[in-house]
Amino acid sequence: MLEVKDLSVRYGQHTILDRVGFSVREGQWLMIVGPNGAGKSTALSAISQTAPYTGKILLGGRDSAKWKPAARAKYVGVLTQNHHVGYSFSVGEVVKLGRYAHSAGMFSAKNSDDAQAVERALEITGLTAQQGQNVLTLSGGELQRVFLAQVFAQNPKLLLLDEPTNHLDLVYQKQIFSLVSQWLKQPGRAVVSVVHDLSLARAYGSHALLLHQGRCVSQGEAKSVLRAENLNAVYQMDVPAWMQGLFAQWQGE
């Protein structure tokens, strides 16, 4: 579904990504992990064509740069970590924007698929009762669910998540990852996400890509990539010991 070859991103003399390559197949959830500044979010920006790059990004076998924006939006959906909505749109209006790429134009007849897709997205994310609510009155977690509903309404084949649960409490983290996990069960879908939480990466990812200073350190099945020696080398610390220490505090309660 996604094939990335020799992907490099440079800003002036500074190299953010250096000849990175990976691929994602149907049903896979690829977790891109690595320390700050590794180039994780930049890789997602390049895939969604919002960062200049060299190399090849193929979506469904076709060069991503040659896709028209609306056609690309039908194939790739993006959920970022922060949202600053400008005006007091309702939840329903924001979710409905997800159908933009599917509507033929302003003068086209009303498409019943659009209404159904929006209703379904609101239902899956538990927002049906809140669809008339002003988005400016929502908490960060609720707002993230609204944008997840927008991406679901968009009905892409490939979902790109850029640290989708940053700043969210545990309840919302669980909700977002469970919803994406359910979404992925449908045939013809795949997910690529950038995460900092290695436990989440291990729990939900089928595959992983470990980046360090813009280069690929390891890639493959999540369990083989997220191993102690790989992580220790990249993070310059004993990662498993640190995490086990954290969990040990909860044992015996």
Binding site: S48, V85, G86, F89, E93, V94, Y100
Partner: protein
């Protein structure tokens, strides 16, 4: 979910209020003419019949009607451009002047007044022609510089260039005024905004421009909704971001260039009207844009009526009235928003 488009009754209500404001502004002035006489004059003029009341027909047909038409069309244009810019830049403080094109048009008009520039074919349209040329040149200059600095035409780049360009133009205007000390009063009156002496030719130019550029802006309603939610959102849902920005910026520039060339710089209409309308119909541009057109017409018609009558026979520049009302309304809206 909220109704997306204008309902028929909403359209009828806005039309009725606009029509009432139009009638009021045509009938009332330094000389008041009854609605019955006004309608009779209009009917005779349309049918080509001789006018019974020569004074009323001269006042209505030669002075008031072209002016009221220009005021209504300018109000609709300024409010529409303000709403579009606020959506496109996701900035409630943006309006048509943010881009700097209105400053460019103003410089053109000031140059024409100061140096008495006239178009050989259309001597009456010297100021207008020069202002339109300057508006176009400003637009091209601003967009070219924005492209050169930032290919993606980011919102911050556009705002920054607009502000810097406006400052530059302000200095250039001061230089021009220095060389035309005898015309300072005329220039000052023009820069404060006035539609005194508007003609049917002005109204026709405004009408055609509004039809074309307004049509382009209205067709971008869905895209403007996406921008108002966030430029990233617009990108991710499949909006052709750069093309939409260019289309809206060019349409706004042309419309504002023509408006400023005819009526001078009329402040606050493009800023305040969309704010008020958003409270009434919500932020969805499918409703906000047409509602802003109607409301801009009503606001400017009433402001012009006040400008003509409050100190009659002395007439105030319309921009002074819109600034007074706009500033007070803006503070009220801001206060209300802060107090929830």
């Amino acid at each position: 979910m909220k109704q997306e488009h204008f309902r028929a009754w909403e359209f009828a209500a806005f039309s009725a209020v606009t029509l009432a404001a139009l009638c009021l502004c045509v009938c009332v002035g330094s000389v008041n003419i009854s609605l019955k006489d006004t309608l009779l004059v209009l009917k005779n003029a349309v049918a080509g019949l001789p006018q019974g009341n020569a004074t009323a027909s001269t006042i209505l047909l030669s002075v008031r009607l072209p002016r009221v038409l220009c005021v209504a069309l300018s109000g609709a244009s300024l409010a529409l451009c303000g709403a579009a810019m606020q959506g496109l830049l996701k900035n409630p403080l943006a309006d048509s002047s943010t881009l700097g094109v209105s400053s460019g048009a103003a410089l053109g008009a000031v140059v024409a007044i100061a140096f008495g520039i006239q178009l050989p074919a259309l001597p009456i349209a010297g100021t207008m022609g020069t202002a339109i040329v300057f508006a176009f040149a400003s637009m091209l200059g601003i967009l070219a510089l924005a492209y050169k600095l930032d290919y993606s035409l980011s919102t911050n780049t556009i705002i920054l260039i607009g502000v810097v360009f406006s400052m530059f133009v302000s200095s250039a205007m001061s230089v021009v005024i220095t060389f035309a000390a005898d015309k300072v009063q005329q220039i000052t009156f023009w820069t404060m905004g006035s539609l005194q002496g508007s003609s049917y030719f002005n109204a026709a130019v405004l009408g055609v421009t509004l039809l074309l550029c307004g049509g382009v802006i209205l067709l971008q309603s869905r895209e403007l909704n996406a921008f108002a939610v966030g430029e990233d959102t617009a990108n991710h849902i499949g909006v052709h971001v750069r093309r939409t920005k260019l289309l809206v910026l060019i349409a706004v520039s042309v419309l504002i260039g023509v408006c400023v060339s005819i009526g001078g710089t009329i402040a606050f209409v493009g800023l305040i009207t969309p704010h008020g309308v958003r409270l009434l119909v919500g932020p969805n541009h499918k409703r906000l844009l047409p509602a802003s057109c109607f409301s801009g017409m009503i606001f400017l018609l009433l402001a012009d009526l006040i400008a003509r009558t409050i100190l009659k026979p002395v007439e105030l520049p319309i921009g002074v009235v819109t600034s007074f009302i706009g500033a007070v309304v803006f503070v009220l809206i801001f206060y209300r928003a802060r107090k929830g």
